[in-house]
């Protein structure tokens, strides 16, 4: 499928549009990275801003279900590791906001859009983390699913986003290790611990199966992003890669995957599964999930509570620079 770009949106003649698009697509085909000062179709810019913005929102909102459990972590090791992990996720948001800024988006506006409910975030963070073992499942399987997506995107065509993702993936590898180690420890624990873990998996499995987005036959955003080398695999391909990587490990640990239709197709090596409920997915990412409202409200409250601090900082910066007080200790 060939995508034409809109002359009006790009403020160019039809001929100029076609000429530039050909060069642009030629560069992408050669594997060149697109850099902020390069010409790019407005459509590419808009789609990327949308994509990076949703990704940044997801990192920020993703900090909430896990962050909630930092005060309750049951050992020094877990407490410090979980704190470091959630800190990383906030750092990812910061990196992604910067990548989006190179395309002309503003951080302040992106945060406003998140807390007014205008922009979206990943479906999985619309669900609550009710018990400690949820934190293990999240760090292992959701970070695992995210790595599949982000590794693929890190080879994408837009330079700043691809570089941010490389760094993010490097840190995500630690999250995955931390998650897997927790799951393994709990799976080898007492009956109560194993039941808690299974309960977590039962609740998180359906949202995790939706994580990579609607099935290819219904996904509307995919084609343009694929054509311009932002997205190198389809949603279903990513889901399949995730299943191949994680299902055998889950079964090894004695976990029961709550899908009666899940089985391996020996010929293709693919996992067959019950098609996720895409109506639920749509409802959830549009703010109709179990804790969608809470997530947005929490971010909004934090933003508003911090307003006086940001105002004081800009006031202080506008007055002459305040010298650092003399350090006597």
């Amino acid at each position: 499928m060939v995508i034409a770009i809109d002359p009006e949106l790009n403020q160019l003649s039809k001929e100029e549009c076609e000429r530039r698009l050909e060069t642009f697509e030629g560069r992408i085909a050669r594997g060149d990275k697109v850099e902020p000062t390069d010409w790019m179709p407005q459509e590419y810019r808009n789609q990327l801003i949308r994509l990076i913005h949703v990704h940044a929102n997801s990192e920020i909102c993703g900090a909430l279900p896990e962050g909630k459990w930092i005060p309750h972590a049951p050992s020094f090791k877990r407490k410090m590791a979980l704190l470091a992990k959630v800190q990383d996720e906030v750092g990812h948001a910061q990196l992604l906001y910067r990548a989006a800024e190179t395309l002309g988006a503003s951080r302040e506006q992106m945060i406003e859009d998140l807390i007014s409910g205008k922009s979206k975030f990943s479906n999985v963070f619309h669900y609550p983390a009710d018990i400690w073992t949820d934190v293990a499942i999240i760090a292992w399987l959701i970070d695992g699913a995210a790595i599949v997506n982000q590794m693929m995107m890190s080879d994408g065509s837009y330079g700043p986003y691809s570089r941010a993702l490389k760094r993010i993936c490097y840190e995500e590898a630690f999250h995955l290790k931390h998650g897997y180690e927790m799951v393994v420890t709990i799976a080898q624990g007492t009956k109560m611990q194993r039941e808690m873990l299974q309960d977590s998996l039962d609740r998180w499995w359906p949202p995790i199966m939706m994580f990579h987005g609607p099935a290819d036959k219904v996904s509307k955003h995919t084609s343009m992003l694929v054509q311009w080398g932002v997205k190198l695999k389809t949603n279903d391909e990513q889901r399949q890669q995730f299943l191949r990587q994680f299902v055998p490990k889950m079964l090894d640990l004695g976990l029961k995957i709550p899908d009666p239709n899940l089985r391996l197709d020996k010929e293709t090596g693919d996992w067959l599964y019950t098609e996720p409920d895409w109506d639920e997915f749509k409802r959830v990412i549009n703010g109709g999930g179990p804790v969608s409202g809470d997530r947005v409200a929490t971010r909004k409250l934090a933003h508003e509570e911090g307003r006086w601090v940001r105002e004081a900082l800009s006031a202080a910066a506008a007055n002459q620079p305040i010298p650092m007080p003399t350090m006597t200790v």
Binding site: M80, M192, A316, T328
Partner: protein, 263 residues
């Protein structure tokens, strides 16, 4: 001339229990302030501060852990049992570090700053002290503390002088927390022994140094202190505000499901 003690085994019984008392105060203050700091992860006024508070909280928890490990070497319970299994009245932290359950940026900053100045002075004193393992540890930890102090020194004048609103909120925080900060220097039965053994300065001496350092920075930040404020004591002998009780209930929640379980 004070003799140096190369290992923890060189401590005689009374000095050993004074060191244990001191280590509990250091460790308990550090884990609780770290816990409070970690409450900002995901909620700070700017993303940069989410990250700064999280990393300082990790340092503070890390410091606590090394103190608890030393306590374990001295025959006390292992760090996890100590932190996640200990009862409220067995804690020895000052009220300052546990106060203010509600998210309040001004109080959190001031609380952290007051603590960091005290902690730096304590580490400095330990680093020059006669108990070698503790002196070595203190030197290592104080290099990390420098960043914490810089962070406080960056924020105090910016918020103290930023806007009328920020000035007022910071002044309220100082008014509320200053008496509790003085309470960090509550003297205990260990003071004389530690001083005589050359391990650690007396609390009243540390307090003098702390007041001088803090007064100067607050003055440069347009914040006033109440010179007549009297210290809030009790933490060092196990009398704590409700904030600590609530904090411990939360912190020990999962651990207490089954203290023998590994998570």
């Amino acid at each position: 001339m004070i003799a140096t003690m190369e290992t923890l085994n060189d401590l005689d019984a009374p000095t050993k229990s004074a060191v244990i008392d001191l280590l509990y105060r250091l460790a308990d203050d550090a884990i609780i302030i770290g816990h409070r700091g970690s409450e900002w992860t995901g909620f700070a006024p700017i993303l940069e501060e989410d990250i700064a508070f999280s990393s300082m909280a990790q340092d503070d928890m890390g410091h606590a852990l090394t103190f608890y490990q030393m306590l374990h070497e001295l025959g006390e319970p292992d760090p996890d049992t100590n932190v996640f299994g200990r009862k409220l009245e067995q804690w020895k932290c000052a009220s300052l570090v546990s106060l203010c359950s509600k998210r309040d940026w001004a109080k959190s900053l001031v609380r952290k700053y007051f603590y960091d100045v005290a902690e730096s002075l304590r580490l400095e004193s330990l680093a020059q002290g006669s108990l070698v393992p503790l002196a070595q540890l203190a030197r290592k930890l104080s290099s990390e503390k420098k960043y914490h102090l810089m962070h406080g020194h960056m924020w105090m004048p910016r918020l103290g002088q930023g806007t009328d609103e920020s000035h007022q909120l910071m002044q309220d925080a100082v008014d509320t927390l200053y008496p509790h900060a003085l309470g960090m220097f509550e003297s205990t039965g260990a003071d004389d022994l530690l001083d005589q053994a050359g391990i650690f300065l007396r609390e009243d001496e540390l307090r003098k140094r702390w007041v001088a350092a803090v007064d100067k920075v607050l003055g440069e930040s347009s914040l006033k202190i109440n010179a007549k404020a009297s210290p809030v004591y009790g933490g060092r002998s196990g009398k704590h505000p409700d904030d600590l009780a609530t904090l411990l209930d939360g912190m020990q929640l999962v651990y207490k499901l089954d203290p023998s379980a590994k998570w």
